[in-house]
């Protein structure tokens, strides 16, 4: 078994998702069955094969090096759950 209680807690913490006890049990089961299933990729010989990360053959286009003033802070803040004086507001971080 690749995923145990400790591992699921560690991944959940890395993902910033709180899991309750029964949920953890379900995910341990799901993730193990998915990981067992993808194990079949080990049958494939990938020696000297370059990983494919981007299918697009296009070359990154350059843009002109000119500044654009887009003062859109009101728009950016429009959907914020909490804001204060032009900033996003979050729970206090420093005591």
């Amino acid at each position: 078994m690749k995923i145990d209680k400790n591992t699921i807690n560690k991944i959940a913490r890395l993902s910033r998702i709180k899991l309750d006890g029964t949920e953890s049990e379900d995910y341990i089961k799901d993730l193990n069955s998915i990981l067992d299933w993808v194990e079949q990729l080990n049958e494939v010989n990938t020696e000297n094969i370059e990983p494919l990360s981007n299918i697009s053959s296009s070359i990154l286009p350059k843009r002109e090096d000119v500044s654009k003033d887009t003062n859109s802070s009101d728009e950016i803040l429009k959907n914020a759950p909490d804001k204060l004086e032009g900033f996003f507001a979050v729970p206090k971080v420093v005591e």
């Binding site: 049958e43 299918i55 979050v90």
Partner: protein, 474 residues
């Protein structure tokens, strides 16, 4: 009533056989009658009427003027909220318009509403939506069927004739599979043909916008409208967009079709093997040369996809943290508590499952064994297609391994659900264009789909073959 057609409707509008207002009112009436299908996450009659008012004042000629279009609720729209079918974006009102929807607006189309989908496009049945299931319009009474997914709302909107076309997105089959389940046409173009700007990201190296329509002609018109280079998407391709519709050529004489032997999978229902054979026979009669080809790494496409897509999703969905937009939990004693509770309460089960698996395969010590390995197998899958396309002009396969299944049937076993994408995922990994067209029925009279795949940016060949097959099926 004759079969709905965008092409014909444009003619009728032009010759004043019908007005924009009459057309829209006809569609509004049907949308309200079919409310029980739960096709739309957002629908506002007022908003539609406002668009009609504006178009009536507008004297300029526009290619899609007055055409009712439905938008998958993954595209950011300024005039309507955008949820990605997730609680975490329940109250999100974009302040900008996606590239694809902007193009449709520029051409004068009317947005009838935002369609339902699997949460963040993760699913194959439109049953992971925070806003409930969509019901396949072809369901018999008391036997609700799934419309497929993730773009199930858009496919259902076209099938129930609630619009003359709809946008979708396809990451591993999310346009083609629901098109097949609902008996409509659905095209996923080449990766890079349509800008991803303003589409809520799922797996960025695979996500691609596309079109649902009543027929192949209409798809060719609509795809041309949404394609094009956009510098705000770094993978957007700088290619000329042909006039697919004007160039449609039904004559396939002398072309070669590839039939991949690896797509004959044990357990595929007889009916599906049968329509595949029927399609091949039709093509042969049209003078197409049949070539048996091999795509040897096909069986590894699904496990490859289910490493790469969740990995990219775990990274993309990190942005939903309760700070900048969307839902924030009430339990926020500290910053970390806020993140963890917001994401625990804001995401549904399938999305969390994929974030967790994606985080695991990218985590220290496992990256090489899973993610890097999957990217290498992805290269082999893409190479298989490159080799095959040296010997053929297009490839024909079934679209999905079944017809529409009952709602909720496959919910408990994730791997069983993932198998829905078995015929669509390989082309997604290789970035190839693919279309699904209705072709035949199963024993319950439900539609089945045939998939046509083409070379990169050879949408024209895909449309030509699809139009030709569609004609002989009708």
């Amino acid at each position: 009533m004759s079969k709905p057609s965008l092409k014909q409707t444009l003619k009728d509008l032009e010759t004043k056989k019908i007005s924009i207002r009459e057309l829209s009112q006809d569609y509004l009436k049907r949308i309200k009658e079919k409310k029980n299908l739960n096709v739309f996450i957002h629908f506002s009659e007022e908003n539609v009427l406002k668009q009609i008012d504006n178009l009536e004042k507008d004297n300029s000629a526009k290619k899609l003027k007055g055409i009712p279009i439905a938008i998958k609720d993954l595209f950011c729209t300024k005039s309507m909220p955008t949820t990605a079918a997730s609680k975490i974006l329940e109250n999100f009102n974009p302040t900008y318009e996606s590239y694809v929807t902007q193009k449709l607006l520029d051409e004068g189309s009317i947005f009838v509403g935002k369609t339902n989908l699997d949460e963040f496009a993760m699913g194959s049945a439109t049953n992971t939506s925070f806003f409930g299931n969509t019901i396949n319009p072809l369901s018999k009474e008391n036997e609700p069927l799934a419309p497929g997914g993730s773009s199930g709302g858009s496919a259902a909107a076209v099938a129930a004739n609630l619009c003359l076309g709809a946008t979708g997105t396809d990451t591993g089959g999310s346009i083609r599979q629901p098109a097949s389940f609902c008996g409509v046409v659905g095209i996923k173009p080449t990766y890079g043909l349509c800008s991803r700007w303003g589409i809520a990201a799922f797996a960025s190296s695979l996500d691609q916008a596309g079109i649902f329509s009543h027929n192949v002609e209409d798809a060719s018109i609509l795809l041309q409208s949404i394609a094009g280079f956009d510098q705000r998407d770094s993978t957007s391709a700088k290619v000329d967009i042909p006039n697919y519709f004007e160039n449609l050529d039904h004559d396939l004489n002398g072309k070669t079709v590839g039939i991949p032997k690896e797509y004959s999978i044990d357990g595929t229902p007889m009916e599906i093997s049968q329509i595949w054979e029927d399609a091949i026979k039709v093509l042969e009669k049209k003078g197409v040369k049949i070539k048996n080809i091999s795509l040897p790494h096909t069986k590894y496409a699904l496990p490859t996809y289910y490493i790469i897509a969740p990995a990219e999703a775990s990274s993309n969905l990190a942005r939903y943290d309760g700070v900048k937009y969307g839902f924030r939990s009430d339990e926020i004693d500290s910053l970390d508590e806020m993140y963890e509770n917001t994401r625990a309460q804001g995401f549904g089960r399938e999305v969390k499952r994929r974030i967790l698996i994606g985080t695991y395969v990218l985590s220290a010590g496992y990256y090489d064994a899973y993610y890097l390995k999957a990217q290498k197998v992805r290269k082999l899958i893409a190479d298989d297609f490159n080799k095959a396309f040296k010997e053929c002009d297009f490839i024909v396969t079934p679209t999905a391994p079944s017809a529409a299944f009952p709602l909720n049937e496959k919910q408990n076993d994730p791997i069983k659900m993932y198998l829905n994408d078995v015929f669509t995922v390989p082309a997604s990994l290789a970035g190839l264009p693919g279309i699904s067209i209705p072709f035949g029925k199963d024993k319950n009279n439900l539609p089945l789909g045939i998939q046509i795949l083409g070379k990169h940016f050879d949408e024209q060949q895909v449309f030509n073959a699809a139009a030709s097959l569609e004609r002989s099926y009708e």
